[in-house]
Amino acid sequence: MSTETLDTVSPAEETGLLSRSGVLRRLMRDKVAAVAGLSLTLIVLAAVFAPVVAPYDPYLTDLTKVMQPPSAEHWFGTDNTGRDILSRVLFGTRNTLMLGLIGVIIGGFLGGVLGILAAYYPRADGWIMRLVDVMLAFPAILIGLAVAAIFGAGLTAVVIALVVATVPDVARVARGSAVGVMGQEFMEAGRAVGVSDRTLIWRYLTLNCISTIFVFLTLRFGQIILIGSALGFLGMGAQPPTAELGMMAAQGRDFLFMAPHIATIPSFAIFVIVLAANLLGDAFRDVLDPRLQQ
């Protein structure tokens, strides 16, 4: 019996993320999720096309138009150096989203690999999970502070903090899910007919765990954005004049009593992004993986 025939019955195809029919349809049936998904799509599009959409240059200062409240000319007003806040929010969203995405993707990949390997190789399990425990001992903000202290504040410090914040939780979820798959009969069958470790890990194990990991990552995305923007707010992330939402809020804080919109608009933007991500994550979980519901 060749492995090809086995591969065709590999259950990954049944439970795999992409092949699940009607996921999108079921998501759209949930009105809150639909609105959240639409908002997030619009936000992402606006961020991606920020250079095209933004009405002004986000770095152009105009000292004759300092701290103007929102108006027809400047929808979100201008900041303390006369820069257009709408344009800065668009570019800021771009940077903030990028940070979150990079953190979640790298962290999700590393965490997923660790968790799956821990489940597949019982001998490595103890070591991997101990490493994960040590990582869990550091709240993300602390990692950000430590990395910023060592290498200097900047986007790299934030990305490292976000990755470290993502890895241990993902590793736990991935391991939990993979241990469940390991107990399935098709794993034993695969091994009995001599499928290689590589194929077992990738086609049998990973493809069956991926939807759980994906759902978990969407659930975490909002939190990751919050951590990233908090680090930006503390001055550990993007450095001026780069627009990043958390850092913009921190800069606006100095002018809070004269022009509150400088600080509150970027903060509100973060709130909207995270809210949309959280609502969408919840909906994804309900549709794709009800087991995670807690």
């Binding site: 709240p139 993300a140 903000i141 430590a146 910023a148 202290a149 908090a230 707010f233 001055g235 903060s267």
Partner: protein
């Protein structure tokens, strides 16, 4: 129970070593030579060499790490490069306000979160439930500093209700008003997650047999909810509140910075901004150890609350 706690202590030992190592790295991998920073830009080569020798920077890394652990155990965390004060003294001054702030935030968040969560579970599916859940999702999605900005702007500046910069003193000595806004800021971040977790936990318990029995006995509904349902729902909630410790700690760092609250978080941020590595290292270490201790405490509390854990 004793064995459980000892086991838990042993498990957290590697984590503690990790914390120490990271803090040690902080003193090692600095972009600039610490001896050169201390000596100043115009120091002679001999002065730098002398300082390097004094700090033990010429010895191999593992030995330096062992020595470092020895120093930490003796409570010697070095001197601040900026103020030249002992780091341990600075930490002793700032740890109190940080604990005060965290306790204040928890004291606000836990009762409100528990009440909202229980209410949402009991009134499941009604408008009350939906409203509370919408409120807590919004809370979970809110950056700490957004809440802080709004509180400073309105309750602090416009309405002049409470002071919003610094700490006027300990709570027992007229310091309470200055604690209100920072504690509210930190606490409001926790209300959402606690309410959500409580709702799920209470819902699970409400379906249990003993709740049905309690009702069948003819107990009043409030007694059933508070004594039977909530009491048992508290077990997962306590652990999950423990998981929020990271939230609490991160929130405290941001809150302290916003309100110029003289705590460890603000000390850490200030030290990093001014490249004061010894102080940064000490502050980060204390925060990490605080985090480990909270988790340990939660685990112990868990064993105490749920006697079943002991047997497994």
């Amino acid at each position: 129970m004793g064995r459980q706690i000892v086991h838990r202590l042993l498990v957290s030992f590697p984590a503690l070593l990790g914390v120490l190592f990271l803090c040690f790295c902080l003193l090692q991998v600095v972009p600039a030579d610490p001896a050169m920073i201390i000596a100043g830009p115009e120091a002679k080569a001999e002065t730098i060499a002398a300082i390097r020798l004094e700090l033990g920077l010429d010895r191999p890394i593992p030995i330096q790490f062992a020595e470092y652990i020895g120093r930490v155990l003796r409570g010697d965390l070095g001197r601040s490069i900026i103020s030249n004060k002992m780091v341990s003294e600075e930490l002793a001054l700032t740890i109190g306000p940080t604990i005060e702030l965290m306790l204040g935030g928890m004291l606000l968040a836990v009762p409100i979160g528990l009440t909202l969560g229980t209410l949402a579970a009991v009134r499941r599916g009604t408008i009350v439930d939906r409203f509370i859940m919408a409120f807590s999702v919004a809370g979970v999605s809110m950056p700490v500093f957004f809440i802080g900005l709004i509180l400073i702007q309105y309750m602090g500046f416009q309405w002049g209700l409470f002071p919003f910069t610094g700490r006027t003193g300990p709570i027992w000595d007229g310091g309470l008003p200055s604690l209100v806004l920072p504690a509210l800021t930190l606490g409001s971040v926790l209300i959402g997650p606690i309410a959500r977790l409580t709702r799920t936990a209470v819902l699970e318990v409400l379906g249990a047999d003993f709740v049905r029995t309690a009702r069948a006995k003819g107990l009043r509904e409030t007694v059933v909810i508070v004594h039977h349902a909530l009491r048992n729902a508290l077990i997962p909630v306590v652990t999950l509140i423990g998981l929020q410790a990271a939230f609490l700690l991160g929130g405290a760092v941001v809150t302290e910075t916003m309100f110029s609250w003289p705590g460890v978080g603000r000390l850490a941020v200030g030290a990093i901004v001014s490249s004061d590595f010894p102080t940064a290292q000490g502050a980060i270490m204390i925060l990490a150890i605080a985090f480990l201790s909270i988790n340990l405490l939660v685990d112990i509390l868990y064993v105490y609350l749920d006697p079943r854990v002991q047997r497994t």
